[in-house]
Symmetry: C2
Subunit: 209 residues, 2 copies
């Protein structure tokens, strides 16, 4: 994240308003009002509302992939540990950017030109990393034989659910994503999924042997 | 679902347009055009666009809960089997109503009066059923000791992911939710999660004994 207080204030205000009123329901005037900046600043920094939206996307996905790549490239012989490091990196990033994550995850469910571009750049890279980790784990007999695609669906379902459905968590389950406790506990739940669903169960193995 | 062809045509056209252009980006005129009906019909049956939206919500959740309650109330001594029946009922319902499911799942991520009402009626009932099944499974030593809320987060993440992120599945993973193959295979993936993550592993048990 760049250190430009005015720019950051505008982005923060925009995300809050996009989440509450939707992108179409939010005006440049609303954003300037909430950020307490002059409207001209928004044109200057982002070239309007569409530019601001694109900045949010790029800002989110550049940071997201940076964290994921960092975990992926770290030296680690175990695919299981590599996957856990990746999960931790993603969850930590998403918990640090709850509002932005929620907004982006909802936006990418809509079919649009910009979403298609994101899919073919960022999500294809993400898929590449997950696929490499899963394939190498299968090869090394750490993971069960599995459909890579169907495992990615589940992993991404687990990673995104608390953020995209944060109102559900708060209002129905009374689970609060912004508490430190949540991040730790939920990461452990995904670790458990990795251990039990993906990994070859060593106690089963010892019975077969 | 009621058997009124005009009404059904309007709803079908509306869901398609809401998914592609968003609720705010869709006009009554667009809907009438796509459904090939007179605009007056939409006012007559739904009292306008907001009424049509509410009809979609109620239509979806009444059918959803009917299927879930049916699976829940069926006589079955095993909590594991009861949960699997519930998963099958939900997946089957969602696969039969892919467009509507996608629309509803995205809509409930926005904080609004109608969404809060849905949370406090339908989602609270759903939570009640899941909680009862999980609690009775823990009591009967079929399921591990677990946090009910965190298990519901995971279950709902797995159930909703392919529908809310259907573009991702199609464009990035090349998995097609509308194929019969998908429904069967994905239900089995969730069964696997139930067996491995929720259920007490009997092979581990036999080692302890």
């Amino acid at each position: 994240m760049k250190k430009n207080p005015t720019k950051d204030l505008i982005v923060e205000a925009a995300i809050k308003l996009f989440n509450n009123k939707g992108f179409n329901g939010t005006s440049i005037r609303d954003i300037a009002g909430l950020a307490n900046v002059n409207i001209a600043n928004i044109s200057y920094y982002f070239n309007g509302k569409q530019g601001l939206l694109e900045y949010c996307y790029i800002n989110f996905f550049e940071g997201y992939l940076e964290q994921l790549e960092y975990a992926y490239l770290e030296k680690n012989d175990s695919s299981k540990e590599k996957l856990k490091k990746s999960v931790e990196a993603i969850m930590s990033y998403q918990c640090k950017n709850i509002q932005l994550t929620r907004f982006i995850l909802r936006e990418v469910t809509i079919d649009s030109q910009i979403v298609r571009e994101i899919m073919s750049t960022y999500y294809v890279k993400e898929k590449y990393i997950f696929t490499k980790i899963l394939e190498s784990g299968i090869e090394k007999k750490e993971f069960n034989q599995m459909s890579i695609s169907y495992s990615i669906i589940q992993l991404k379902g687990l990673l995104s659910m608390p953020f995209i459905h944060s109102y559900y968590l708060t209002d129905v389950l009374h689970v609060f994503v912004n508490e430190v406790y949540f991040e730790k506990k939920y990461i452990n739940e995904i670790y458990n999924w990795i251990d039990k669903v993906l990994c070859i169960n060593t106690s089963e193995l010892s019975i077969i042997n």
